[in-house]
């Protein structure tokens, strides 16, 4: 049984690490803000899920797993929300800049 759990953790950790690294690389290398946000959300949703689930498998049915679940839940709620707010703010700012430019051109 514990072998399966260990195996599961290994797989999840492997996937998680890979996702984190790819996402971080994307945040660094991609050209514009919105593409970078796309990469960041990869680490923030899938990466987080994989890593935290991996730890949960190791922790077993304890208080720690409950806490990890809560952490996962809160992260899954907050990080898309802040990404959304960020994207929206950036988009609005860009639109405003464009309209201002148009107004200036007139």
């Amino acid at each position: 049984m514990s072998l399966f759990l260990d195996l599961g953790s290994w797989v999840l950790f492997g996937i998680g690490s890979l996702l984190l690294f790819i996402g971080a690389l994307g945040v660094l290398r991609l050209p514009t803000l919105f593409t970078r946000m796309h990469a960041a959300s990869l680490t923030e949703s899938l990466g987080t899920i994989a890593v935290l689930t991996g730890i949960m498998l190791q922790a077993g049915l304890t208080l720690a797993t409950m806490k990890l679940l809560a952490i996962l839940l809160f992260l899954l709620l907050t990080s898309p929300t802040s990404s959304y707010a960020l994207a929206n703010a950036a988009l609005l700012a860009r639109n405003r800049d464009q309209t201002r430019e148009q107004a200036d051109r007139k």
Binding site: F74, L77, T78, T81, S82, Y84, A85, N88, A89, L92
Partner: protein, 328 residues
């Protein structure tokens, strides 16, 4: 592994610190300070100082960013070139750093059980706490009882800071920290707020609950009044960000904050005075109950409550003072 983690985190810390000093864009500095504080907390955690890490997390991650932004709202976003030379401070800093490095040459190794720190007072705390106070978290015992007078002092440091901010900024009429122009609805700026509002309002009860947990769990795990106060204050600040200062003040009016600040500071001090009246020394909780261990525990719970109240009250008062100033 500890060393590896610590070295990595400290390297990032130094890079961030240098960047903070070098940038003239104050907003970038605030963002980098957020990272700095996260790194700091991770460092404390790696060094096994969970109570300190929790404090850094509670204050650094949420509240200090909000307060820095509040200050930025009152000033310009870019640092002005000052006429002062930057060379003298740099030289002083380099000399100081070199001196501290020099001092570490004879330092006992990290975690060395024979280091003086682990030989003198600390073993006594570890061996006597179960008998004298009987709570699992020795850090809380040290802060709450053995060195309770220091903690009283720290509460008054926070209190003084609050008084000073109120005195300087003046607590005028309530205002919005990040005030929006009145016809902002027509420009449609609020639309994107729907999702954050729903999620944020969902989170607030959990934040407050977690704050209470940290407050009352401090005897068993990391936590206590300072951390709890900061977390609860962060929850209320989130409410103020989502719903506006006016509604936050309606929920928790300034008079209530005042009561919290005075009540917290007085509660702590009065526990000490009651100990004196009951025949002990100042802050000697043993006399509070016929059983000295129960007395100690009661005393620690009471003073931690005082700390939590005062810290929440002061942090929120400071936040509102900045808000009132930003609008005026």
């Amino acid at each position: 592994m500890t060393i590896l983690l610590a070295v990595f985190l400290l390297t990032m810390l130094v890079i961030t610190a240098v960047a903070i000093v070098r940038t003239r864009d104050l907003f970038a500095a605030v963002m980098l300070l957020g990272i700095f504080s996260l790194l700091m907390a991770a460092n404390f955690f790696v060094l096994d100082a969970a109570d300190v890490a929790l404090t850094e997390a509670a204050v650094g991650a949420g509240i200090s960013t909000v307060l820095f932004l509040g200050a930025l709202a009152l000033t310009a976003a870019r640092e002005r070139e000052s006429g002062d030379s930057r060379w003298l401070p740099l030289v002083v800093v380099v000399i100081m750093a070199a001196t501290v490095v020099y001092a570490t040459f004879d330092k006992p190794a990290l975690g060395d059980p024979n280091a003086p720190v682990h030989q003198h007072v600390a073993p006594w705390y570890l061996s006597e706490t179960p008998r004298l106070i009987d709570i699992p978290n020795v850090v809380t015992a040290v802060l709450g009882s053995y060195r309770g007078y220091d903690t009283l002092g720290e509460v008054f440091v926070v209190f003084t800071a609050g008084i000073a901010v109120l005195f300087l900024l003046g607590s005028g009429r309530p205002g919005e920290l990040f005030s929006r122009p009145p016809d902002e609805l027509s420009t449609g700026g609020l639309k994107h707020h729907l999702i954050p509002r729903v999620v944020g309002k969902l989170l607030i009860p959990f934040i407050i609950l977690f704050g209470l947990y940290v407050q009352f769990h401090g005897e068993y795990g990391p936590g206590g009044g300072f951390q709890a106060g900061a977390i609860i204050a962060a929850g209320v600040i989130l409410y103020a960000l989502l719903e506006g200062e006016t509604r936050a003040l309606a929920a928790l009016p300034e008079s209530a904050l005042k009561v919290m600040v005075i009540g917290g500071a007085l509660l702590y001090t009065l526990v000490g005075v009651v100990c004196m009246l009951m025949g002990g020394n100042f802050l000697d909780y043993s006399v509070l109950s016929t059983n000295s261990v129960a007395g100690q525990q009661l005393g620690i719970i009471l003073i931690e409550a005082g700390v939590g109240l005062a810290v929440t009250g002061v942090l929120l008062s400071i936040f509102h003072a900045f808000a009132a100033r930003a609008t005026a």
